[in-house]
């Protein structure tokens, strides 16, 4: 149960600032997802924790032990940090068992490799070579290899990005289950919001080398600290509104505001409404705004409708509607909003 602590971490490559003043604490035994677009510095953060790169400034500690303070650093082979790279990076010249047992003493290799392959669901594949495995199997081997050294911390660098969608979800679930069962502290780097929301205990949103927000998936979605963080997680409708204390009026009519200890707002604000907070009516409804269906993304159990409001600025909004609701492109509908909504002064 080792806590990872990053304190005002800075890292540049030449003139390019990759991480500036990043602070992050990952509680022992929990899974934190670092969410960010490519180039946001998330892989660099992992490589710093693993010890492949060294800090410019700041500190990194695991389980209270200082690993890098900007001048001195512990070498990667002495950190006991398991690393699962993007495409597995299995050693192509070694069998599956050879890969899993790589970090172990000679006597332990066979037994331990078999045990770990059982854990990741790959019994009997000990003698295969990496190129004889599917992408998902390669990732499972990479995880088993990282877990073999009994690491205090496991780092996963977009481990599922090269897999197709259904496999990604299944493997993600399995990996999270395995890590939770062993109470291993893990950092999962990803650019996939749904992956982060589904697997992590905590999400850190990284943008341009800074941590924008950090919270549990639920709070981050329901109660993001600012508009940037709101846009980073899930679909978001951001609307201009006129606030009067506990209520505000926007293009969709009157909405209750969530105060959440931030104090009452008065004046022009920006309003966050998640798609499921919008309700669609097929007939004229009082208090609802008239809109036209621009586009429909059908998911089976529900659907996302992109709507253009007819009044006043022809803004577009996204609404989540039940799957069985019959909608067509160009159809006229009425939208109302249910609170409470987050708001920030403009």
């Amino acid at each position: 149960m080792s806590t990872i602590e990053l304190c005002s971490v800075c890292k540049s490559f030449g003139a390019v600032r990759v991480l500036s003043d990043v602070g992050l604490t990952v509680a022992g035994g929990s899974i934190t997802a670092v969410l960010g677009a490519s180039g946001s510095g998330k892989t660099t953060m992992l490589r710093l924790i693993a010890g492949f790169e060294q800090l410019d400034r700041g500190t990194i500690a695991i389980g209270g032990q200082l690993l890098d303070d900007g001048q001195r650093s512990v070498r990667p082979q002495q950190r006991g940090v398991g690393y699962v790279p993007q495409d597995g990076a299995l050693f192509p010249h070694l069998t599956v068992a050879g890969n899993v047992g790589f970090g172990l003493a000679r006597g332990q290799r066979v037994e331990k490799a078999r045990e770990l392959l059982g854990l990741v669901g790959l019994e009997g594949l000990e003698h295969r070579y990496p190129h004889e495995l599917s992408g998902g199997q390669q990732q499972r081997v990479a995880l088993a290899r990282a877990l073999a050294i009994e690491p205090s911390v496991v780092l996963l660098d977009e481990p599922f990005s090269s897999l197709d969608a259904s496999l990604r979800a299944e493997l993600g679930r399995d990996v999270a289950t395995i890590l939770r069962a062993r109470a291993t502290t893990a950092v999962l780097v990803t650019h996939d919001q749904s992956e982060a929301l589904a697997l992590a205990d905590e999400i850190a949103v990284l943008k341009d080398g800074r941590v924008l927000a950090r919270d549990s998936p639920r709070s981050l979605y329901r109660d993001p600290p600012d508009l940037l963080a709101a846009g980073a997680i899930g679909e978001a409708n951001i609307l201009a509104a006129e606030a009067r204390g506990e209520r505000a009026s926007c293009a969709l009519g009157e909405v209750a505001l969530s105060t959440n200890g931030r104090g009452l707002l008065v004046g022009t604000v920006r309003l966050l409404l998640r798609p499921e907070q919008l309700t669609l009516h097929l007939e004229l409804t009082s208090g609802a705004a008239r809109a036209r269906v621009l586009e429909l993304r059908y998911h089976g159990h529900d659907a996302l409708a992109r709507l253009m409001l007819e009044h006043p600025d022809r803004e577009t909004v996204l609404a989540r509607v039940p799957g069985e609701m019959a909608l067509e492109r160009g159809q006229e509908v009425w939208v109302s909003a249910g609170g409470p909504a987050q708001a920030w002064a403009k």
């Binding site: 001195r72 070498r75 082979q77 002495q78 950190r79 398991g82 790279p85 006597g107 050294i149």
Partner: protein, 528 residues
């Protein structure tokens, strides 16, 4: 159970904060600089040698009409051979890679084997059969037959790497077969063709034995002849020779390589059905292989059978010469590989402009003909280190310098296959960097090291010029002994030596052909 838990505890490594060292990567770069300096030392020695000869000597040697004749001879021959080798190389590569050629695997080896036959042996075969054959035509024929594999190998590899989807796309856009070849395929393999042609040109420029046999004078033959009378004139003559070769090498740098070589083909190319063309294609390839391998081999065997009536060399001298050739070539190839490994690793972790420049500068020995390297080493030994003069050490150094770039090409190809990420993962699993190098990096580089060794061995065992100049007095190799006998028109006595060279060179040549052909099966890891 108790045992297991103590073992688990033992795994927990000691964690110690260490002062950062100037990284390993830096040490490799420093080593690389030293090796580059060593490799470029013949250029400096040549400059000193020529300078000490004095401007008067240089003027005297260079500004005579004979120099223009030599220059014209060299350039005309080089252009002819390069053009013909390009045509042969591309055509044969197309046949083995893009058509359903019967017994394809056999052809991939047979088409490469001509590099195992020394060009002077081919020249000897033609000249001893048709004594009238001489001059430009003979030189062109012999050199083309001996060097086209240098185009075939890279072009075949490039064809294999290029994504067949590009050709399919061109067809789907309504472009016909011939125009697709000209507009899509040819640009894709252009870099490979250029690279091969540069190698062919450099080989032709530095060839000595063949041209001596077919009586065609080039700069290299002149330098060699001058050296026996006046070493200063030889040094002066070497200057334009090296300039010419450097010019050729520069051509390779000028051609931009935009080819998407990093793209791993999504699937194998659909091979064209040859249909009625099977017989003509197989016939043409057989004729080529027959001329390049069959004919010289047959003539060598013919002379051996003939000479049973007269005199065959004693088995003892034959054995001694074979041993000498073998040991010098093995040592030279090992030295080249050992030197090339750190240079190839210079851009393993960090790719910067200076590091690339450093690597590329080590290709310059390609442009130094064997005769020039040998001259500079003789100059060095007689001037600064007399103890080394007439030792086999100097010959091995010459082999290593001359063939270093060939070893580097092979090793760099496998460094590209062994990304630094794998070494990172090895370290994070608790292994020290030495252990990771031995258990991860080295095994991944092994095929490249083997290929590099084979390539250098092959060129060293067939090498004549530097061997003639540097082999210690009284020490004979297969190449020098063959040369001595055939110079005395003792064709029968020369034949067994030629045959042994071919036998020694054939195995590594076959290994190389298979290594190149296997290229497609190597795992392609996405670039980081």
């Amino acid at each position: 159970m108790a045992k297991l838990s103590t073992a688990d505890v033992a795994v927990a490594p000691p964690r110690a904060l260490r002062r950062r060292r100037a990284g390993r990567s830096c040490a490799v770069a420093v080593l690389g600089v030293c090796i580059a300096a060593f490799l470029l030392s013949p250029l400096a020695l040549l400059a000193i040698d020529a300078h000490s000869a004095g401007w008067r000597e240089i003027h005297h040697v260079l500004l005579r009409s004979r120099s223009y004749l030599l220059l014209r001879h060299t350039i005309v021959l080089t252009l002819l051979v390069a053009a013909l080798a390009a045509v042969l190389g591309v055509a044969t590569a197309w046949c083995t890679e893009r058509t359903r050629l019967p017994a394809r695997r056999v052809w991939t080896v047979l088409l490469v084997l001509p590099i195992a036959i020394p060009d002077d042996v081919v020249g000897y075969a033609w000249h001893s059969t048709f004594p009238g054959m001489s001059g430009l035509a003979a030189a062109t024929l012999v050199m083309t037959l001996g060097t086209y594999p240098l185009v075939y190998l890279p072009v075949a590899a490039a064809l294999r790497r290029s994504d067949p989807a590009m050709q399919d796309t061109a067809h789907s856009l309504g472009v016909g077969r011939m125009r697709t070849f000209a507009r899509v395929t040819l640009p894709l393999i252009r870099t490979a063709v250029m690279g091969g042609c540069v190698l062919v040109a450099l080989t032709t420029i530095s060839e000595y034995g063949t041209f001596e046999i077919v009586r065609y004078q080039t700069f290299t033959t002149e330098v060699f002849t001058e050296f026996q009378f006046n070493s200063r004139a030889a040094a002066a003559l070497s200057v334009p020779l090296v300039c010419l070769a450097l010019l050729v090498l520069a051509v390779d740098g000028i051609v931009p390589s935009r080819a998407a070589t990093r793209l791993a083909p999504s699937r194998a190319a659909v091979r064209a059905r040859l249909g009625r063309l099977v017989a003509p294609t197989v016939g043409a390839l057989s004729a080529l292989v027959g001329l390049a391998i069959g004919f010289p081999l047959a003539i060598v065997l013919y002379w051996m059978v003939q000479s049973q009536h007269t005199t065959l060399p004693a088995a003892a001298t034959l054995g001694q010469a074979t041993w000498n050739s073998l040991i010098y070539s093995v040592l030279g190839a090992s030295a080249a590989v050992v030197l090339a490994l750190p240079v190839a690793l210079v851009s393993f972790r960090r790719v910067t402009h200076p590091r690339r420049m450093l690597q590329n500068s080590t290709y310059i020995p390609l442009a130094l003909p064997g005769v020039v390297i040998a001259l500079s080493l003789v100059f060095f030994a007689t001037r600064y280190a007399y103890g080394l003069y007439q030792t086999s050490f100097l010959l091995i150094v010459a082999y290593a310098i001359m063939h270093f770039p060939l070893a580097l090409v092979c090793i760099r190809a496998s460094v590209a296959q062994a990304p630094a990420r794998l070494a990172d993962v090895g370290q994070s699993l608790g292994r020290g960097s030495t252990s990771v190098f031995v258990r991860v990096t080295l095994p991944l580089l092994a095929p490249g090291l083997l290929a590099g060794f084979c390539l250098v061995f092959l060129f060293a065992v067939t090498e004549l010029t530097a061997t003639l100049l540097l082999a210690p007095i009284g020490v004979q190799t297969l190449a020098t002994q063959f040369w001595a006998y055939q110079s005395e028109v003792a064709y029968g006595a020369a034949a067994p030596y030629a045959l042994l060279i071919i036998v020694l060179a054939a195995l590594p040549a076959a290994v190389l052909a298979l290594w190149f052909d296997r290229g497609r099966f190597q795992p392609q890891l996405a670039p980081q």
